[in-house]
């Protein structure tokens, strides 16, 4: 175990009494509870954490927050692998395993760093220019090469063993960020009685106060913040969630957030790793603070260069001194506190300030011995894997150092205020973009509003809390006393977008650290006419990495404005869109993965099908028996046996998946008359009828049977696929078109198990099991409906046939389904009853010429399908009136026909087109297409249904069925679509 050589002897919000062990690239290291991975690495003297995206330059820890561009690591291994995780946001736990990224074979020696030498060949726009020709090279050579060289972490190819969950929250006021502004806002809003949700992305509240040496009300600021949050935690109307990133704002004040519930714990199966929140709020207070800007000079990406505010956090919050010989480079007063805090922690500090001495008011807070270079800039730092010297300009002074802290000012975090379309506006005085018109339901406070004086931040937070509560209808809580912070130097920023004159083309001054975009790249973009912010972004890829340019964008806009000689306000800003930070797919999916994402529906007889060797097929979410192979049978043999059994004796198929809707009420019949093309209001009780529904545009929507169970009581079945769509359509028609009709209906699909018993012996089989219902043809003819019992279970029996045989559909409450099915199978044994699957059902309906899904494709009318004579002319129904359009009545419509091969041993495919001449292909010569093709055991050859131009008049004609996909051209003959028992004698007998 290595010693924590950079850990200070005192200070910080860490638990020094406990030591925890973790590994980085396999090296065993120690940390204390309260450490982040970055603070623990720095405590162990490790700055170098990865290689850069494009040039594989060594990179180190640059920040202390979510905006970290460099120190992206891969956590865990196997299915738990989490790539591209900012080390600054990882809380160290016992046994944590972290790896550096984008290096091969090792972090210190990286072969692909030759990209660094090839840099002149990787300029901005190289994606668009360099590799354009020849085209095939792009796919085979350039892209794979670039993919290997560029990029960050690698995803695991295993399933994630952790679990994630989703949660909803509602509140009056959502406050994002528990820094000084957010805490004050929460306290004020909460005291008014309004409900408050305070979401903060760190492990404990306080925001930047957790890393500052400032006093509020006479006590150090971190415990002060803890005191406020304790007060909030005791209030019933406040919910405070830590480790939670609000990543997006969506329409209607809906927010997305991710809470890292278990990321800081040793993985276990009980704790979700993350929780995905959907938050509904009435008011938003954006107290997300500000992000410090880098300064741009040659070598500004070297490990050991760090934001000044971050260095302060490492000293004050973690008790870690990230360097002993420090140069602080700034254009504002804020970084003076970094110089002070590092100096007080024992470092030797030199301060370099780009401003003239008279503009600086903070000199007084520094110890006397801290040397300050006014009116100077760092033009370059040296040190390949760690900075060791800083060169100043214009003086030419060289300073030895092991840490360079930079501050280019602060950029307010406006993301959540911008997501629903509000545009930030440039504020010249405060040198940043601000959201001046955030709308009536959102406001910013503190750093996010470019308020940097701590006392102003506290009062602005309180004011925002009161205003938000008032907007939610909660009055003023009275004036609670404002806390008083110590006075700090003014901010006094003087813009410095890049160090002047320091940038030579040969060496690199980085603007976007994460995506390796340099000043030279921006200059090139400008020269080539891509200088507008939105163009430059795409041309150089600036701001397009996982940090979305949080650090880079402002400097880039400043540099572009300088290059164009125009104000920043005219360069424009890019648009912020959700998500503000990367979110794991697992968190977005939550529990809805696998079967919870796509549930499987089983009928009541599923278990029977399983033990009887059914091969299943998916029908929507349903699992349906496809066929039941017996020993030695393949698909074709099994289907053939099943069909022939039904046609010669008896078989049974599970049809529970049909949609079922029950209707009651005096107007139920009239309602159905208006939904279907045919009529039901005058159908006799205990009768069923086939029915067809159209869409209002005249196309067939669905088909099924309608049964009348009583004078005011109907029961309909609809296709499996359209079960929910038909219900929705019926509700629309009832509620919108015909609310005066006295009818009620509801879906009962799941309540009933259903099976069809078909074949010449089906009546004999049922007669042996059904009690209380006579089944002889006179009492119970074709299309009769009745009730009886089977094996003691109530059953509705419908004499309906889809197969064309003598057949019955038996419905029983789902709980009885398995018992009734088994009773019928038992009763059918003497007749050799066979269970059959959906394929045999398809074969038989095709032999009978019944249309199904492939023919009801949304482009066919009832007339096209040969069902035109069913259409009533004596009533209004959905779709009737558009059917009269001449285009739908024309003789050249595609009409349903049957097909058979001229040579009986030939086969054809569904989807094949029908053409007049052999060898001719193309859409323009197509006469139609095959919708269904099956082998018919009854006919002894292939048969098909097709939609053929003017088809009904072409019976006997020979055509070619052409399927180039199958390299197939078969001579077929147009025939009547009813291949078996065309007069329906079997089903009526």
């Amino acid at each position: 175990m290595s010693r924590q050589s950079n850990r200070l002897h005192q200070g910080g919000l860490i638990d020094r009494t406990r030591e925890i062990s973790f590994t980085f690239d396999g090296r065993a290291l120690t940390a204390h509870p309260g450490d982040t991975l970055s603070s623990a690495l720095l405590a162990n003297g490790i700055h170098l954490t990865g290689r850069s995206f494009k040039y594989h330059r060594p990179r180190g820890i640059y920040t202390a927050g979510a905006e970290e561009p460099n120190a992206l690591v891969t956590l865990g291994n196997g299915g738990r692998t989490a790539p591209n995780t900012p080390a600054t946001m990882v809380e160290v736990y016992e046994g944590l395993e972290a790896h550096s990224q984008n290096r091969w074979p090792s972090l210190k020696f990286d072969l692909l760093a030759v990209n660094s030498l090839l840099k002149p060949f990787f300029p901005a726009g190289f994606y668009y220019k360099t590799f354009m020709w020849p085209r095939s090279f792009w796919y085979r050579l350039y892209e794979p090469m670039i993919r290997r060289a560029a990029g960050l972490g690698t995803l695991a190819n295993e399933s994630d063993p952790d679990h994630y969950e989703k949660a909803h929250a509602q509140c009056d006021v959502l406050i994002v960020g528990a820094g000084p502004a957010g805490l004050m806002a929460a306290r004020e809003a909460a005291h008014s009685g309004t409900s408050v949700l305070l979401a903060d992305d760190h492990s404990f509240p306080g925001g930047h106060l957790t890393g500052e040496a400032i006093e509020i009300d006479g006590q150090p600021c971190a415990p002060w913040a803890a005191g406020i949050s304790d007060e909030l935690k005791d209030m019933e109307n406040v919910r405070l969630i830590q480790r939670t990133t609000v990543y997006g704002r969506y329409d209607g004040m809906t927010f997305g957030a991710v809470e890292r519930v278990g990321d800081h714990l040793v993985p276990d199966s009980a704790t979700p790793r993350q929780r995905s929140w959907t938050i509904h709020a009435k008011q938003l207070i954006n107290a997300t603070g500000a992000i410090e800007r880098p300064l741009v000079f040659t070598g500004n990406d070297r490990p050991g260069v760090m934001l000044a505010g971050a260095a302060r956090v490492y000293v004050n919050r973690f008790g870690v001194l990230p360097g002993r010989n420090v140069v602080v480079f700034t254009n504002n007063d804020d970084a003076y506190r970094t110089a002070r805090d590092l100096s007080q922690a024992g470092a030797t500090v030199t301060l370099v300030d780009s401003r003239a001495e008279e503009k600086v008011s903070a000199r007084g807070i520094l110890p006397e011995h801290v040397e300050v270079h006014f009116g100077q800039c760092i033009s370059k730092v040296k040190g390949r894997s760690h900075v060791h010297r800083a060169m100043l300009a214009p003086s030419g002074t060289e300073l030895d150092c092991d840490l360079v802290c930079v501050s280019g000012g602060w950029t307010p975090s406006l993301h959540l205020l911008s997501h629903v379309g509000h545009r930030p506006i440039w504020d010249e005085a405060r040198t940043c973009f601000l959201m001046k018109e955030p709308g009536n339901d959102a406001r910013a406070a503190g750093g996010a509003a470019a308020t940097f004086d701590l006392n102003e931040v506290l009062s602005e937070g309180a004011k925002a809390g009161r205003a938000a509560a008032k907007s939610c209808g909660h009055g003023s809580p009275g004036n609670s006393k404002l806390p008083k912070a110590e006075n700090l130097p003014a901010y006094a920023l003087e813009p410095l977008w890049r160090v002047p004159g320091s940038v030579s083309r040969a060496d690199a001054a980085f603007v976007d650290l994460q995506n390796d975009v340099t000043v030279a790249d921006l200059e090139l973009a400008q020269r080539e006419g891509f200088g507008h912010a939105e163009h430059a972004k795409r041309y150089t890829t600036l701001g397009m990495a996982t940090d979305q340019g949080k650090l880079a964008n402002m400097n880039a806009l400043g540099i572009l404005a300088e290059l164009q000689g125009c104000p920043i306000a005219e360069t424009g800003t890019t648009t912020f869109r959700p998500l503000t930070a990367p979110v794991a797919f697992g968190a977005i999916a939550g529990q809805t993965r696998g079967k919870a994402f796509r549930p499987v529906r089983h009928s009541a007889m599923h278990h029977w099908h399983e033990i009887h060797n059914a091969v299943f097929t998916h029908a929507g979410l349903w699992m349906r028996p496809y066929y039941y192979p017996r020993k030695g049978e393949d698909f074709a043999a099994a289907v053939k046996r099943e069909v022939l059994s039904v046609r010669s004796s008896v078989g049974m198929v599970d049809v529970s998946t049909l949609g079922k809707i029950e209707l009651k009420g005096p107007d139920a019949g009239v309602f159905l008359d208006r939904l279907y093309i045919n009529s039901f209001s005058r159908m006799r009780v205990n009768r069923a009828r086939y029915g067809v529904m159209l869409r209002e545009d005249g196309m067939v929507f669905d088909d099924g049977t309608v049964s009348r169970l009583g004078p005011d009581h109907y029961f309909i079945t609809v296709t499996t696929a359209n079960a929910s769509a038909v219900m929705q359509h019926m509700e629309f028609c009832h509620q919108v078109h015909w609310p005066q009709l006295d009818v009620q209906f509801c879906t009962v699909s799941e309540a009933w198990a259903a099976m069809a018993v078909a074949g010449p012996n089906s009546r004999d089989v049922l007669a042996r099991t059904v009690k209380g219902l006579k089944l002889d043809n006179d009492t119970f003819p074709f299309m009769a409906v009745g009730e009886g019992t089977i094996a003691g279970a109530p059953a509705r029996i419908f004499r309906i046939s889809f197969s064309g045989e003598l057949a019955y559909e038996v419905y029983t409450p789902a709980g009885f389904g398995a018992g009734v099915w088994e009773a019928i199978m038992e009763a059918g044994k003497p007749d050799g009853i066979t269970s059959y699957g959906t394929e045999a059902m398809t074969v038989m309906r095709t032999e009978k010429g019944h249309v199904a899904g492939p023919e009801l494709d949304g482009r066919t009318t009832a007339a096209d399908l040969g069902l035109g004579q069913m259409m009533s002319t004596r009533k209004d129904f959905i779709g009737r009136w558009m059917t009269d359009r001449s285009g739908l009545a024309g003789k050249d419509r595609l009409q349903l026909v049957g097909l058979k091969p001229v040579r009986v041993d030939e086969t054809f495919h569904m989807g094949a087109h029908l053409v007049n001449d052999q060898g001719v292909t193309g859409v323009d010569v197509s006469q139609g297409h095959i919708t269904t093709s099956v082998y018919s055991p009854t006919c002894g050859h292939f048969i098909g249904l097709a939609l053929l131009r003017s088809g009904r008049a072409r019976s006997g004609e020979q055509l070619y069925a052409v399927s180039p996909l199958h390299d197939e051209s078969v001579t077929v003959e147009v025939v009547n679509p009813v291949f078996t028992d065309p007069n329906g004698e079997k089903m009526r007998g």
């Binding site: 629903v420 209002e696 509620q735 919108v736 009737r880 359009r885």
Partner: protein, 92 residues
Amino acid sequence: MRIPCPWCGDRPLSEFTYGGDASKKRPKHPEKASAEAWLDYVYLRDNPAGKHTEYWHHSGGCRAWLKVTRDTRSHEISKAVLARPQSDGARS
């Protein structure tokens, strides 16, 4: 986005199914309606930038069809009533 269902209160978008332009009415006397009237009802739709009245089905809730007024630019919902005429639908 949330839709204030008159029966169920503010509910998330995921519970609803869109049903299209609600300013179109099925001709009251279908047998007398002209081909143009049917064309207008079935096919012709405006695409306004601003307030739009549209049907939404509370398919994952009370199953009521609603008439919702939504601003197509901001998705702000200013009104949501039952599509079924109030005299029938608002009884409890």
